[in-house]
C-alpha cells in the first residue's frame, strides 16, 4: 500500500527501506464513500449513516493490507463497497486496471472473478444442503471453467491445497465438518478461480486459537504458493499484524493511521491506535491493568462528531479537533496519520491528558519545532 499524497521524506537521501514494489497497484481505492439512509416507518428520512467516509489506499501485487477496527467502524462496509455489492456512493475502485464503479453486468462479473471473499461464519456462507464437492465446484460452474471431469479434478486439487483429504471430505455436508474444516472449504471455494486478491472479513475470528493458527498458516502458504494479495479485515490488531505487510486503523468510517505493521505497533502515531494497543490482553500479568483504559463508546455514525471523529474519546483533543478535520500526513516513510496532535509530539496544553498528567500544576512548555503544539501552548 502507498499513501496517496507523496510527502516530504526525512532529510537523509538514503533509499527508503520500505520502498513499495514498483509498478501498478493491484487495487487502488480513492475517496471511497458509502452512506445508508435510515428511514422511519412510512418512509420519512431519519438520518444518513456515514459508514465509509473518504477512504483511500492501494494494494500492490503480492501485498497484504490489514484493516483493523471495532464494530461499526465501517470495515465490512468498505470491503463490500470495493466489491460493488452494494455500489459505493462515490469514489473510485480500480482493480487490475479496470474502474469497477463504472462496470456493470457481465464485465463487472468478469473483473470480480479475480477478487474473492472469505467471510467470518463458514456455516453461514456454505449451503447446508450441498456437498463439499459441489460447494467448491460452484464458482467453476458459474464461470464455465472446464468440463465436468476437469472441474471434479480441480475440486480434488483445491481440497488438497487447503489440507483436506478429498476422499474423506468431498461427499460430506457442511454440518459434518468442524468450524475449522468448514472455513477451509470456504477458502478452497474462494481460490478456485485463481484470484489475485482475497478479501478476508474476520475470516478466523470464530475459530478456537489452535485452529485459528492452522488457518492463518494456510493463508500464509497460499500467499507464497499462489502469489495472492490480501485485504485482511479483523478487529484483532495482533492478528492483523501477524499476516499483514501494512496495517490501516479504521475508526467511524475513516482511516486514522496507515503504515508498515511493525511501525504502527512500535510507534503508533494516532491516540486511537495507542488505545487499541493498550486494550489487548497481554500474557504479562497485570500489564493490561497498568495501562489506562479508553472510556466511552464510539459515537453514532448517523451524526458523527465534527472535525476529528475520535475527538469525543481522545485524551489529547482540543478545540482545534472539533473545528478542523485532520488530513492524513506522512510522518515517517509510508507511515501516515490523520491527527492534529500525533503521539510523536507532546500533548497539547489544554488537553485532558496534559491537565491530568500535570495534576493541576502549570503544563510544561512544549518544545519548539511543531507549529501546532506551540500555537496550542500560547
Amino acid at each position: 500500500m502507498t499513501v496517496p499524497e507523496p510527502s516530504a521524506t526525512p532529510a537523509d537521501s538514503e533509499p527508503r527501506p520500505e520502498e513499495p514494489a514498483t509498478g501498478e497497484p493491484l487495487l487502488s481505492v480513492r475517496d471511497l464513500v458509502q452512506e445508508f439512509t435510515v428511514r422511519e416507518r412510512g418512509g420519512g428520512k431519519v438520518g444518513v449513516v456515514q459508514a465509509v467516509s473518504g477512504v483511500s489506499f492501494d494494494i500492490m501485487p503480492g501485498e497484504t493490507l490489514g484493516i483493523v477496527g471495532e464494530t461499526g467502524s465501517g470495515k465490512s462496509t468498505l470491503a463490500r463497497a470495493i466489491l460493488q455489492a452494494p455500489r459505493p456512493k462515490s469514489g473510485s475502485v480500480t482493480f487490475r486496471g479496470a474502474e469497477l464503479t463504472k462496470l456493470r453486468g457481465g464485465s463487472l462479473l468478469q473483473a470480480r472473478r479475480h477478487m474473492q471473499f472469505v467471510f467470518q461464519d463458514p456455516f453461514g456462507s456454505l449451503d447446508p444442503k450441498w456437498k463439499v464437492r459441489s460447494i467448491v465446484e460452484e464458482p467453476l460452474v458459474a464461470y464455465h471453467a472446464g468440463n465436468r471431469t476437469a472441474r471434479r479434478k480441480r475440486v480434488n486439487e483445491l481440497l488438497d491445497l487447503v489440507g483436506m483429504d478429498p476422499v474423506r471430505y468431498a461427499k460430506r455436508h457442511p454440518r459434518e465438518l468442524s468450524g475449522g474444516q468448514a472455513q477451509r472449504v470456504a477458502i478452497a471455494r474462494a481460490v478456485a478461480l485463481e484470484p489475485s486478491l482475497l478479501i478476508c472479513d474476520e475470516a478466523v475470528s470464530s475459530l478456537d486459537v489452535l485452529i485459528q493458527a492452522q488457518v492463518l498458516n494456510l493463508f500464509e502458504r497460499l500467499r507464497t504458493e499462489l502469489g495472492l494479495s490480501y485485504l485482511f479485515i479483523a478487529h484483532d490488531l495482533a492478528l492483523v499484524k501477524q499476516v499483514s505487510d501494512r496495517v490501516a486503523v479504521m475508526y467511524l468510517g475513516k482511516l486514522c493511521e496507515t503504515g508498515p505493521g511493525e511501525a504502527v505497533y512500535r510507534e503508533p502515531l494516532h491516540p486511537y491506535t495507542r488505545a487499541l494497543l493498550d486494550s489487548i490482553p497481554s500474557t504479562e500479568p497485570g500489564a493490561a491493568r497498568a495501562s489506562s483504559v479508553i472510556q466511552g463508546e464510539p459515537p453514532s455514525p448517523i451524526n458523527p462528531p465534527s472535525g476529528c471523529r475520535f475527538r469525543t474519546r481522545c485524551p489529547r483533543a482540543t478545540d482545534l479537533c472539533a473545528e478542523e478535520e485532520p488530513r492524513p500526513r506522512e510522518l515517517a516513510p509510508g507511515h501516515a496519520v490523520a491527527c492534529h496532535f500525533p503521539l510523536t509530539e507532546p500533548p497539547p496544553a489544554e488537553s485532558a491528558e496534559t491537565t491530568s498528567a500535570a495534576n493541576g500544576t502549570a503544563p510544561a512548555a512544549a518544545p519548539a519545532g511543531s507549529e501546532t503544539t506551540s500555537k496550542a501552548v500560547r
Partner: protein
Amino acid sequence: MTDALLVVDDLRVTFAVGGREVRAVDGINFTASPGATLAIIGESGSGKTVSCRAIMGLLPAGTAIGGSARLRGTELLGLSDAELRRHRGSDLAMVFQDPARSLNPTMRIGLQITEAITTHRKVSKREAQSQAIELLRLVRMPAAERRFHEYPHQLSGGMRQRVMIAMALACRPKLLIADEATTALDVTTQAQIMELLLDLQQELDMALIMISHDLGLAASYADEVIVMYAGKIVEQAPAAGLFGAGGAVRMRYTRALLDAIPHLERSAHTPLPVVGGRPPDPTALPPGCSFAPRCGYAEDDCLAKVPALAEHAPGHSWACWHPCENGGAA
C-alpha cells in the same frame, strides 16, 4: 485455601448421547475465594462451561453429575429446583456470552432488572426501581435514569453486557461466574468490562470465576488459572506462576495455546507454531494422555498411561509425563 467460598471436589458430568457416554467433565477439583479471580481456560468442548453450569444447576435433567460442589459447606449438587433458586441470585450468579440473547427484547431494561430484584427479595415496586437505577450506576452505565426506560436494541453490546452484570449483581451474590462474558465485545469494550468486573469484585468482596478461551485475558486479569482439555484439568497455577518473568508454563498443551496466539512481538508472515488435529472425540478418549495424539513431544508412555494432575512445584500442578523445561519458550 482455608477461606474458600466454593470447594469443588471430583466433579464429574456425563451426558448420554445416542446411547454413548460422553464424559464432558472428568473429575476436576478447584476452589474459589472471596476477592479472588479464577480463570478457567480451554477450547470449545473442553468442559469449562459444563462444569460451571453443573455448579449453577443449569444442566438438562438426566445429566449424570458426580462429585461435590460446596458453597460455604452447603452441597449444591443434587439440590431441588426450589432450593437451588434460593441460592441463585443471592449466592451464585452468572453472566453469559451473548447479552443480546439473554435479555428480553420486548421489555425495557429497567423492568428486567427490577424483576431480578423482586424475584429474590420482598421489596416494594418503588424500592426495587430505585435499587435498579442504583445498580445501573454501580455498573457505570452512562445516563442511568434515561437508560432505565430503554429497550435492549437501543443499547450497544457493551451496555447490554453492563445490564446483564447489573442483573447478576441484583442480590449481591458471593460468587459471580462470567462465561465468555467479553468474547463478543470489541477489544476496548472488553477492557472496560473486565476493569468493571474486577472493581466490583473488590467493592463487593465477591469470588469471580471467568471462563474464557483466551489465555491472554487470564494472564491480564486472573489470580489463579486452570487450563482444561478434554474434560480434565491439565495445568493449574497462580497467574504469576505461569506468565511473565517469574512464570513457567509446564504442560505441553498450555504451551501450544500460548504459542498459537498472534503476538504483536512476532514479525509478520512468520508461520505460527501449530499443533495438528482436533480435540479428541469425547465418546472415545485415547487410553493415555488426551493431548498425546496431537503433542509433538509425546512418547510411548504418554499414549499408554494417563498422567495424573499433581502439585510438582508449590501451588503449581500439571498433568504431563514430559513437561516443558523453563516454560518451553521457543
